[in-house]
């Protein structure tokens, strides 16, 4: 994964670049909005761009708008200390794909970057998702494991669909809260954990190989047995 970091704070940029490199990815840094735009639309192909909202020369929102106007579809993640309620909506409306408020756990950032970088290209939407012997029919809204139908509540279905679409990647608690429940806040009660354990009871109980894995301190992952 090749990441472009557009961040004016030297230390913050170095922290990001270092952390990303340490996890086995490449990272370039642009120190202002104008340089960021030049690099993002230049010959070097990036898989994902991290953009700080507040930048000199060209602010983050304008940068992403300009990128989109120039025909660049590189997935973009806004990184900001602005926790404002409208800021996320503004960022997404400007053409951003995700939004992360500082401070964040690095695992959260990496999970979101991975999700963005592997975002499927526009094409025919699959009508059936399959991971190992687990099959989901998106048209008939049915789920089968090893040929046996599994009865899921609508929300459990959504949760499983998101996990299956993210097959092999880490999904964090807050990603699930946002995508499955549209909760853009973190409740004190751990609602994700209990929903996952119910889903797991239906999908994995009595199976030789569990598909839904819990990654301590990071999140969850659905994948076929290694």
């Amino acid at each position: 994964m090749k990441v472009l970091i557009v961040e004016d704070d030297a230390e913050g940029a170095a922290f990001l670049a270092h952390g990303i490199a340490e996890r086995g990815h490449e990272a370039d840094v642009a120190r202002n909005g104008r340089d960021g735009l030049v690099m993002a639309t230049g010959p070097q192909r990036y898989d994902v761009v991290i953009v700080d909202r507040m930048l000199p020369e060209l602010d983050g929102l304008s940068l992403v708008k300009a990128m989109r106007a120039a025909g660049s579809a590189i997935p973009t993640l806004f990184l900001t200390s602005l926790s404002g309620i409208d800021d996320r909506v503004e960022g997404l409306e400007a053409g951003g794909d995700d939004y992360l408020v500082k401070p964040f756990a690095f695992s959260e950032l990496m999970a979101r970057l991975a999700a963005l970088a592997r975002r499927p290209t526009l094409g025919a939407e699959p009508t059936v998702l399959a991971v190992g012997d687990l099959e989901m029919d998106l048209i008939r809204r049915t789920v089968k494991r090893g040929g046996h139908e599994i009865d899921l509540q609508p929300r459990e279905f959504q949760l499983l669909e998101f996990l299956m679409r993210s097959e092999g990647r880490v999904v964090t608690r807050s990603m699930l809260l946002e995508k499955v429940w549209a909760f853009h806040f973190d409740p004190q009660t751990n609602i994700v954990e209990t929903h996952i354990s119910r889903l797991r009871a239906k999908v994995d109980r009595g199976q030789a190989t569990p598909l839904i894995l819990t990654l301590r301190g990071a999140g969850y992952m659905l994948r076929a047995s290694n």
Partner: protein
């Protein structure tokens, strides 16, 4: 509504008091004039009667009884206002028509025998009786002129004047007080808007120089002062939260970098992880403070859309249900009554989630939590009720304050901001909120404003 309030205004009361005093003084003046005029008229009539009587007595002393009789007979034929009576020593009427009471001398009141006009009742006349040398008596009275006639005219004039005074005074009072009421209404609506959070609102100043203008200016100065104090207060909190975020974020980043290097040593790694978690918790609290401030600023209202709070609550209940069951509690929805309003779905979701979170965190296993919607006084009402230990009344009132935590809740995790956020979101939507006694347990209630109808009379 305006009319009943009109009569309660202080200026109307003042006008009524003045009107009462004025009426009393008119009555007093009337009484004085009445007495003076009455005595004046009576004195004049008495003088005339005395003069006539003296002239007749002179006639008697010059020409005797027969001369007097002839004079009376002659005068009675002439049109004048006097009436006469002459009686002999036995009391028999010998001339005229008035009969004096036997033995009376000087001024007496006689009932005049009214004969020819049956419709007219007998009237009392004031008559003067003089004794003659032969034992007879002469009575003279003025039968046409008497005090009550002019006095009646005078009284009716006063009555009309009084009626006019009352009418003008009442109209003036109403006009005066409705004028004052309009300005006081303007003050009241401005103050109410400020209470509702519109800190920029001021009382309209007319530029005049009366007491109400002074009052309006003084209030506006007070509002300016309160606004600047409030802003300074908020700015301090926001500035602290804002300015400390950057260094704290860097600190967390450095610790994370260090953590990556030190991962070989488990004890150091654990300490670093704990430190990072603490910093994140502080930053989360700062973000919550800034978020509450932002919601309180009201800027979010621009993006309001039609939302059904009951449907939002249903989703929240559904999300929390498994977690509640895990904790050995039941969480049920009684949300059949729709609660439509113009609002921010994301914030309303967080509001309900915070209420449910709160109920879950401060109750023991076995608690029943019910999220219910209901019609309530024209609007709607959403309640999150539990049958847990509840909270004493004094604490229930403070529960929405920032960083306020019940003594009993000190040991449970939480930043003391969850319910402040609930309060901020409720206020943003014009909803009233309260913590009530569920007997047993706690019932958190938000009340929707009545759906927008015609604005109330202003």
């Amino acid at each position: 509504m305006l009319r009943t309030r009109l009569f309660r205004t202080s200026s109307f009361r003042l006008a009524a008091i003045y009107l009462g005093l004025f009426t009393l003084s008119v009555l007093f003046l009337g009484a004085v004039v009445y007495l003076v005029v009455h005595s004046q008229i009576s004195a004049e009539i008495d003088q005339d009667v005395e003069g006539e009587s003296a002239a007749l007595l002179k006639e008697y002393s010059a020409h005797g009884e027969s001369g007097l009789k002839a004079t009376i007979a002659g005068r009675a034929g002439v049109v004048n206002s006097f009436a006469y009576g002459l009686v002999d020593a036995s009391g028999k009427l010998t001339a005229g028509e008035l009969v004096p009471p036997p033995g009376a001398v000087g001024w007496v009141t006689l009932r005049e025998p009214e004969n020819d006009e049956p419709g007219e009742s007998a009237v009392d006349v004031r008559a003067r009786v003089a004794r003659l040398d032969d034992g007879g008596a002469l009575v003279v009275a003025d039968e046409w002129r008497s005090a009550p006639g002019p006095m009646r005219a005078l009284l009716s004039a006063f009555a009309w004047a009084l009626a006019a005074t009352l009418a003008l005074g009442a109209i003036g009072g109403v006009l005066l007080s409705s004028q004052a009421l309009k300005r006081i209404e303007a003050m009241r609506s401005a103050a109410q808007a400020i209470v509702a959070g519109d800190w920029r609102r001021r009382i309209p100043e007319t530029g005049g120089d009366d007491e109400l203008d002074h009052l309006a200016r003084t209030f506006n100065l007070m509002f300016d002062r309160i606004e600047s104090l409030l802003e300074a207060h908020k700015a301090v909190g926001a500035a602290v939260a804002h300015d400390l975020r950057r260094p704290l974020t860097r600190m967390a980043q450095r610790l994370e970098t260090q953590l990556a290097r030190e991962s070989a040593r488990p004890d150091t790694a654990a300490a670093l992880e704990a430190a990072i978690a603490d910093i994140h918790a502080v930053l989360a609290t700062f973000n919550a403070i800034l978020r509450i401030g932002q919601i309180e600023s009201g800027a979010r209202r621009a993006g309001f859309r039609p939302v059904d709070l009951a449907a939002t609550a249903r989703e929240v209940v559904e999300a929390f249900q498994p977690a509640a069951e895990e904790e050995g509690k039941t969480l049920t929805a009684a949300l059949d009554e729709a609660l439509p309003l113009a609002g921010d779905r994301e914030l309303l979701t967080q509001m309900v989630a915070n209420l449910v979170d709160n109920a879950l965190r401060h109750t023991p296993a076995g608690t029943h939590i019910v999220v219910a919607s209901a019609r309530h006084g024209g609007g709607g009402r959403l309640a999150v009720a539990d049958d847990g230990p509840g909270a004493p009344e004094a604490e229930r009132r403070r529960i929405f304050e920032r960083f306020y935590r019940l003594d009993a809740a000190r040991s449970t995790p939480g930043d003391g901001l969850g319910l402040s956020l609930v309060a901020a979101i409720a206020e943003l939507h014009g909803m009233a909120y309260a913590a009530e006694d569920n007997a047993p347990g706690l019932r958190m209630v938000v009340e929707l404003p009545k759906p927008a109808g015609p604005p109330s009379a202003a």
